[in-house]
């Protein structure tokens, strides 16, 4: 037995040159986890935060009490949204590489999180996304052209050129302005939900955070406020295993699941297979029912994998095993739903290929239109005067003067 204290360094399962190793992952069988009533008290359902809710099994069959029994048409919509998200991501990645946009972040591998969750919510629910939830915007029907114009910081950019690419928002779509600072949206979502409860509305708030960002104090503030006021909020930790180069163990995932922090605060915590469209949908629907019936907040941990780089500024080959995603035990969310639909929904490889081609054309046509409103390198440009607007509702005198000075400076060049 060791006789001294020691500093533990969380292990990283596989670094470059090593074989991918996911033996650390605690899995449950599809269909094996009990589904408690939505009115269950948080303290009675602690098991949900440690097991893994799964519906789709390895043979692509839906199993057990969490099967949401969605009809084939609904599932096809989900498949379409996920595929569109992926195709959009791929195209925007290439666009960044071609120097047309300054930066991009893909959600490759965790498309089911945003898509299934958003489909399980209502249009009146308010969403507080992180920067890897483009599926939320797609499900909410934000036109691809609008998203692309934001990425381009062009003349149709909803942010008027002020934000980095992917930091979308839509007031009409009830999608809160995305921050580049980590975790800040979590307590804000709780506050929105508290206001809904104060006003006696039926809407809930939902927010997303990466497991890495859950280390920030804002995560803990959110859980505390949600627990104290039993706010109608769904707090989602997208555990994609990596915070840039840092494995989830550094966010505390080695000792206990992220979902298990919920019961620690007196909140229901659920750990779900984030690559299982059906399970994600079912768990979200369960949490939404809890919120709408006064049973309080839910913390959901979505276990998934960041298949791509953190961003276009990142190179994962420097810090993790090659081809790791091919070995990820929970598979690919699009492939899994596709196979399920082929088995039961009348879907086929041909229809899938046709859908992909249709979505490729949609993305290409959208890009063609968006680029006419300007790119980083060519076409129309936003008026730099806009820089001084919206700092305050009314522009103060010092900013009016600075705007004049900037105009003079531009004329002098």
């Amino acid at each position: 037995m060791q006789r001294r204290s020691r500093l533990h360094v969380p292990p990283t399962p596989a670094r470059p040159g090593e074989a991918p190793d996911f033996s650390y992952l605690q899995l449950s069988e599809a269909g094996a986890v009990r589904r408690p009533d939505v009115s269950a008290r948080a303290r009675e359902i602690g098991f949900l935060s440690l097991e893994l809710v799964r519906v789709l099994d390895d043979k692509h069959e839906a199993r057990g009490p969490w099967d949401p029994h969605l009809d084939a048409a609904e599932l096809e919509i989900g498949l379409r949204h996920m595929l569109l998200t992926r195709i959009f991501d791929e195209r925007m990645q290439r666009t960044q590489r071609a120097g047309k946009i300054s930066f991009y972040m893909r959600s490759l591998g965790d498309e089911a999180v945003a898509v299934a969750q958003c489909m399980a919510l209502r249009p009146g629910d308010m969403l507080f996304p992180s920067y890897r939830n483009q599926g939320l915007h797609i499900v909410r029907g934000i036109p691809l052209v609008d998203m692309m114009c934001q990425l381009l910081s062009n003349t149709r950019d909803m942010c008027k050129g002020r934000q980095l690419p992917v930091m979308y928002h839509s007031a009409a779509g009830r999608l809160f302005s995305i921050s580049g600072n980590l975790g800040t949206q979590f307590p804000q979502a709780v506050g929105w939900a508290m206001a809904a409860a104060i006003k006696g509305e039926d809407h809930l708030a939902a927010s997303w955070i990466g497991e890495g960002a859950s280390a920030e104090a804002d995560f803990h503030h959110a859980l505390l406020f949600a627990a104290v006021y039993q706010a109608p909020v769904i707090l989602n930790v997208v555990n994609n295993q990596w915070a840039i180069s840092t494995f989830q163990g550094y966010a505390g995932g080695e000792q206990r699941s992220f979902a298990a922090r919920g019961p620690g605060y007196g909140i229901a915590g659920v750990r779900v297979d984030g690559n299982d469209f059906l399970a994600v949908h079912a768990v979200t629907q369960w949490a939404a029912q809890r919120a709408r019936t006064g049973a309080g907040p839910t913390l959901i941990e979505l276990v998934t994998y960041r298949a791509a780089a953190h961003s276009t500024s990142d190179d994962p080959a420097r810090y993790r095993a090659k081809d790791d995603y091919a070995h990820w035990p929970l598979g690919d969310p699009i492939e899994r739903l596709k196979q399920h639909l082929i088995k039961h929904g009348g879907w086929s490889e041909e229809r899938h290929r046709a859908l992909a081609a249709e979505l490729e054309s949609l993305v290409a046509a959208s890009w063609k239109e968006a680029a006419t409103y300007g790119t980083l390198t060519e076409g129309p440009r936003l008026d730099p005067d806009l820089m001084f607007e919206d700092v305050f509702k009314e522009m103060p005198l010092n900013l009016q003067r600075q705007r004049e000075a900037m105009r003079a400076e531009r004329n002098s060049k």
Binding site: R15, S153, I244, T246, R410
Partner: protein, 338 residues
């Protein structure tokens, strides 16, 4: 002497200090195995081990708080905050704790923590990867604030900061990591190997805090600056044919007021330039000191060059950044006949 860019110079400073002093530890997000998102700590975990170079959770408040505790227990932590824009969750630990520990405990406790953080714009980073918040920290009593403008100073200042028994926030202008930048975006990037301050000794040396560097002696006018703007202002003055005395402050706290005032007394004219926003910026403090000490020597109103008083906008990076044109406009006013 070795040629180094600022990344290599900073890396070398930490390498030297890890080798010399077993109390020195590094901590921060992605700094260990990966070597930092800007590669500043590359290879140091491999060389000194996982107990000397720690990857941390993404929690700036936790990083600073833990660094204080480690320092109180005899270590000398060098904490990296990945971007200065992300330092605010650590602000309470910095402003209320780190800065005041010596004072409130009458010197019985102190925390020799160095906080390194990349700052400044010019890399298309938008509002969350471009800020220059140094003025917020110069307003807090009890922390030293440093910002180098070249590799030689960066290494010497960082070693001094780590050896200092008081806490230091060390801002690294990220646009200068790979080469000097004079604000001209049409010119191809220049590496540090073309610059005399890219020559950096391999071993231990120090550059003192509180001692400004007279980058160029001149008699027409004094330019006071630090970080990236040292290069921009120097280029603007040269383009205007002004014989400017250029002062690189290097450390803002402590401040070398003597060098500032003796230069302004000599030239009678002054432009203060920084990238940070103008209103309540550090430039206002410099202007006040000059006004108090050199009022009767001034031949023209002192001019300030700064970022506009807005968040840093992604699409208007170069309209926002204090360009040579903005410096030139200030020089023109400052050079008007008395």
């Amino acid at each position: 002497m070795a040629q180094m860019n600022m990344i290599q110079a900073l890396n070398s400073a930490m390498d030297v200090m890890l080798g010399r002093d077993p109390a020195v530890v590094l901590m921060g997000e992605d700094i260990g195995y990966f070597g930092g998102v800007f590669r500043v700590t590359e290879g140091l975990q491999r060389k000194y081990g996982e107990h000397r170079v720690l990857d941390t959770p993404i929690a700036e408040g936790g990083i600073v708080g833990a660094a204080i505790g480690m320092a109180v227990n005899g270590l000398r932590p060098v904490a990296e905050i990945q971007f200065a824009d992300y330092i605010y969750p650590g602000f309470d630990q910095i402003a209320s704790e780190l800065a005041r520990l010596r004072y409130r405990s009458a010197g019985d406790f102190f925390a020799p923590v160095t906080i390194r953080t990349p700052c400044g714009g010019g890399i298309r980073g938008g509002q969350t990867h471009s800020q220059s918040p140094e003025g917020i920290f110069t307003h807090v009593c009890g922390i030293k604030v440093v910002m180098p403008s070249n590799p030689f100073d960066a290494k010497g200042l960082l070693i001094t900061a780590i050896e200092d028994d008081d806490p230091v926030i060390f801002f690294e202008p990220k646009r200068l990591y790979n080469g000097p930048f004079d604000g001209d975006t049409n010119r191809p990037a220049v590496p540090w190997s073309t610059h005399k301050k890219g020559e950096v000794p391999a071993g231990h040396y120090t550059v003192p805090l509180g001692k400004a560097d007279i980058v160029r002696a001149g008699k027409d006018l004094t330019i006071i600056s630090y970080g990236t703007m040292v290069h921009v202002a120097a280029a603007a003055a040269a383009a205007q044919g002004i014989d400017a005395e250029i002062i690189d402050l290097r450390s803002l706290v402590p401040l070398d007021a003597d060098s500032i005032c003796s230069s302004v007394k000599k030239t009678g004219r002054c432009v203060v330039a920084h990238e940070a926003t103008r209103f309540s910026g550090f430039g206002a403090e410099i202007v006040s000191i000059i006004q108090e000490e050199c009022f009767w020597d001034l031949l023209a109103p002192i001019q300030r060059v700064a970022g506009w008083d807005t968040p840093y906008p992604h699409a208007f990076e170069w309209e926002y950044f204090p360009s040579q044109a903005r410096v030139a406009a200030a020089l023109k006013v400052a050079m008007e006949p008395a």
